[in-house]
Amino acid sequence: MSEAAVIGLFVATVQFATLVYLAALGELIAERAGVLNLGVEGMMAMGAVSGFMVGLETGSPWAAFVVAAAVGALVGGFHALISVVLGADQVVSGLALTIGGVGLAAYVGRNVGGRIPETKFTDMSIIGLSEIRWFGDIFFNQPPVVYLAVLLGAGSWFVLARTRLGLALRAVGESAPTTDAVGHSVVGLRVAAVMVGGGLAGAAGSFLSLYMAPGWTEGMVAGRGWIAVALVIFGAWKPGRLAAGALLFGFTLALQPRLQSFDINFLGLQVNQISPALLGMLPFLLTVAVLVVISWRYRHGPSPAPASLGIAYRREER
């Protein structure tokens, strides 16, 4: 196994992790404010298609990225309107958003499906750091979206944990009536959180269509939105743990093709002779293992989930 192959494994890990982390971070923000949004897949699809189309028109990946985030926020706003402002069932509205978003993306992109991309993000070396052996190649020779995801993760942690705005957001997720009584706008906070979350999902979609697999074809999000929803639980609603979960998930995804092509002899077992069908189960086995560990850790004491998650708030209705 060559050095390039090992570096490749971790480079791919970081990129897959970034893709799901951006979307999952958005979902985390919405859920911390008490709104479950199962529409991540739809928002990512809309972000992917709009990002690709803007890339075709403008040739600028950054313009595409910004528009994709705006479109994601708008689509997320639809969920906020239905489930926060009108107080409808969040699960129903979120599922509708996934179905509608994926379908709308297919419709919007029907004339650009299979088109040759005009632009994509290119790798950006961080001067100085990218020279570090191994570490530099893996972490500091990545597309700019990867660095942005790290900044957004750190920023989200800071806002949620260290600012009054974050406190209000968390409070509305724990107990909307109390927050209302204190004088914060429940609707305002929740709508903002859901739209920011949608923006991040849209941005994640455009990372897919502008870097991971440049182009647009219906179905290219391929379930990553659902992974993002699951990762939030996995990460116990904390941006840092979410990053660890995303990296673990990215690692299993990156490992699967590489275990088949690496010539590794592990304890007398030739790894690339293991049934590929068994290797394909690896991400799922790891997911189950981690969920078991997490539920074991929280076996006493309260669940890490926001207490008001999924509950619509209407003043004076009990």
Binding site: G8, A96, G100, Y107, R110, A213, P276
Partner: protein, 411 residues
Amino acid sequence: MSSKIFSKLLVLMAVFALLATACGNDDDADTQTTGADSTATAMAESTPMADATPMAESTPMAESTPMADATPMAEEMDDEVVAGFVYVGPVGDAGWTWAHDQGRRYVETSTGAVTRFVQSVPEEGPDFRSTVVDLIENENADVVFATSFGYMDTMEELSGVYPNVVFEHASGYKKNDTNFGNYFGRMYQPRYLSGMAAGALTEANQIGYVAAFPIPEVIRGINAFTLGAQRVNPDVEVHVTWTFTWFDPAVEGDSASALLEAGADVIAMHQDSTAPGLAAESAGARWVSYNSDMSAFAPDAFITAPVWNWGPYYERVIDAVRDGSYTPGAYWGGMADGIVDLAPLAADVPADVVAEIEEVRAEIEDGSWDVFTGEITDQDGNVQVAAGEVMDDGAMLGMEFFVEGVVGSIG
């Protein structure tokens, strides 16, 4: 009325509004359906499905005679064959479904038939059935082409319900004696030729093959490709990575990257995305695509591609349906029939290899030689086809071994 019920209604209305925009805006004659409709149908029908299926079965059965009358009536008016196509993916996939849709466009001009297509119809669930029933009852389809393996059993069932409609199923193996046939192409033939070109261009003598699922069709393609590569380059190894996907560009592109990092300098593939080619292009490696000529996506990497050309077959079936001479078959056409072909070769394929490829093509087309002609040994060195013998179709269709020179496991 409680505002909760009201807002739930609003959600539903909003979804239907989205769907309406998705289908209502088509001014060309094609019946376009996007994933949204099909998913929504699946959702909407998920509860009543249990009783819907028997109902749907019994009603058309009872009405099959009046309906059979209705179809020719409608036809007397324009006298044209109506051909319905059901696709598993979007027509914009640049791959499998795109190739079928090229065939549909071809027959539209060559035969004058009216065509309808529905894309992104899932293999699972009730969508496929209702799509075909709709094509027959509302669009008056005389022949339905269904282009994915998973549609097979429903096609068989509906061929009994609508005896006056022709059912043609790609890539399956079931048929009947009156109105239900299957069709496919000997893709292994151009795969062999593409392997020759790849074998000539690899400098590392290591080719990476991004493979879809370990089923005979894919295994046959890998083996044919490997035998072709070995013909011009006996030292070549073909490293196989399974993705367990037909279409997931992120995974397929990354699998190509993994093979390239492990030392391969040419990538071949069996999925419907262009992502492996983009990975090869950015790594400065080479690429054999599949389904269609994808040279525009990775102009420097592209070597060639084994491609589908469904048009001539669709034309034959539609002509037969029009003049009433249709009889169902199990069609497995080769390069001689034109249903499969090789895309143009890259300019840097050496001239002697180009000449050899043309020679082999001629031998395949005149039937004097075929790809799986012995002696062929498997990975473990066992002789699978003895010297001078030719593997029969049954053995090819059930192929479950890798030839010597393939590195990887079928599992």
